[in-house]
């Protein structure tokens, strides 16, 4: 079997074995979304307006908080050092690691989001656009989150710091993502927003693995 496929499967297996931790973002995601109707108003008219924003901010926070310790264990056990020293591509390893984490952690968020849509009285006809947007967005956010995790890998308490670093970087994703859903619910054309989101998706997937591997190397050089 191709060693990269093997690596990917073992990574997914590892996250799955720790599924209780991996599923925490999902629980967080659902709880936070349920707070908004309580804090604001249960009136469908208001909920419908804020639903895309709530879901997108919620997804962003859940992703960043979940990814904060992505490389922590590999760093502490010295696996990361072996990756860096090994002749095979660190970028590809990072890429597969993030994708495997996404499969275990973010995919459940997307699967769960239709239920939140019902809670927040969001029109069901815009569901398709929301899901496509969430797919593009969570992958992009996962790579950004991994960058934050890589930059702070040698720090013990980094949750809040990662959020401060990444939230400003992630605003364009939030804007295009939430507005594609909002426009779709408004019966307007959501495609421009989705295309822009896709552009960010390709830009991030193409460039950020390089930045992540540079960041990982930083913590080993003296």
């Amino acid at each position: 079997m191709n060693p990269w496929i093997q690596f990917f499967r073992s990574e997914v297996g590892l996250s799955w074995r720790e599924r209780r931790r991996a599923l925490l973002p999902l629980v967080f995601f659902v709880i936070v979304a349920s707070l908004f109707p309580l804090a604001m108003s249960p009136r469908p008219l208001i909920l419908k307006l804020i639903a895309p924003g709530v879901i997108w901010v919620d997804v962003m926070l859940a992703t960043f908080l979940g990814l904060e310790s992505l490389f922590r264990q590999d760093y502490e056990e010295g696996v990361l050092e072996q990756w860096i020293l090994s002749p095979s591509s660190l970028e590809l390893r990072v890429f597969l690691k993030v994708i495997s984490f996404w499969t275990v952690t973010s995919l459940p968020l997307i699967v769960m989001s239709p239920i939140l849509i019902l809670w927040l009285s969001f029109p069901v006809r815009a569901l398709g656009i929301l899901l496509v947007g969430l797919f593009l967005g969570t992958v992009t956010l996962s790579f950004l989150g991994a960058l934050g995790a890589a930059l702070t890998v040698s720090l013990r308490q980094s949750g809040m710091l990662v959020a401060i670093l990444l939230l400003p970087l992630a605003t364009p994703i939030l804007i295009f993502g939430a507005h594609s859903a909002l426009l779709a619910a408004d019966k307007q054309n959501p495609r421009p927003a989705l295309y822009l989101l896709a552009t960010l998706f390709f830009l991030t997937v193409g460039l950020v693995p390089k930045a992540i591997s540079t960041a990982l190397k930083v913590s080993y050089e003296v």
């Binding site: 970087l169 364009p172 804007i175």
Partner: protein, 246 residues
């Protein structure tokens, strides 16, 4: 080696930079003082009153230079971060670390003066105007850079990590600006164009003088701060002993 590249080679060596930057900094400080005073006089007294905005437009003479500097300083920071990462130059990291607080300060001034300008123009201190919003996000980016730079035991790790953040941020800023612009046209149309219109030469020259003055002010302070940052990064070297006199 030519005279020119020799000059830069020597400049990059910390002890040389330390001595060379002192007279430059002093010169910059005087130029900045003169230019800013001239700009203030021109902007607050000589420039004619705007026929639409009355004297309120004069906030421009502090707002526009600060906003311009906030972007310029980030570019300097990203460029020196790049130089630091590629050529492993300690001096470049020191420049980036020295620039960040200054850039954050310019951004804060741009935000506050923008709000104060907004009140008479829009009737409220804050609207989610595209430019103010991008400026706010820029401010957050500066804060992130400063925190990350100072979070590590080892200053070198902090420098490198923050340098990566600065580069990613430099790619992100135009995207943020575009996305906020796009978002704004979606929600408000393009009705908030009040801040830009053709500007008369009698109003323009004080602005240009102020902007140049701000550049020299930044140049002065960044040299000063870079000297301190270098000292901290080279505290294990012999030459710093001579400088601090121990």
């Amino acid at each position: 080696m030519t005279q020119f590249s020799l000059f830069f080679h020597r400049l990059a060596s910390p002890p040389h930079f330390y001595e060379l930057s002192k007279p430059w900094g002093r010169a910059f400080s005087w130029i900045a003082l003169v230019l800013i005073l001239v700009g203030l006089f021109g902007g607050l007294w000589l420039a004619p009153r705007d026929f639409q905005q009355g004297n309120g437009f004069r906030i421009m003479y502090v707002h526009v230079p600060s906003a311009w500097m906030s972007l310029f300083v980030f570019m300097v920071m990203a460029a020196s971060a790049f130089v630091g990462l590629v050529w492993r130059m300690r001096l470049a990291y020191a420049v980036a670390a020295a620039s960040a607080p200054l850039g954050a300060a310019f951004t804060a001034v741009a935000l506050v003066t923008g709000s104060l300008w907004g009140k008479p123009m829009w009737g409220t201190y804050w609207v989610w105007d595209a430019r103010l919003t991008s400026e706010l996000i820029l401010f957050f980016l500066y804060l992130g850079f400063i925190t990350l730079n100072r979070s590590f035991e080892d200053q070198q790790t902090g420098d490198r990590a923050a340098a990566i953040l600065a580069l990613v941020g430099a790619v992100d800023i135009p995207i943020v600006h575009y996305s906020v612009d796009w978002w704004q046209t979606l929600h408000q149309g393009s009705s908030f164009k009040g801040l830009t219109s053709e500007i008369a030469p009698s109003m323009l020259w004080p602005l240009l003088v102020m902007m140049t003055g701000f550049m020299f002010y930044y140049g002065w302070l960044v040299l000063w701060r870079t000297r301190s940052e270098i000292l901290l990064r080279e505290s294990d070297r012999e030459w710093t002993k001579r400088v601090v006199g121990s």
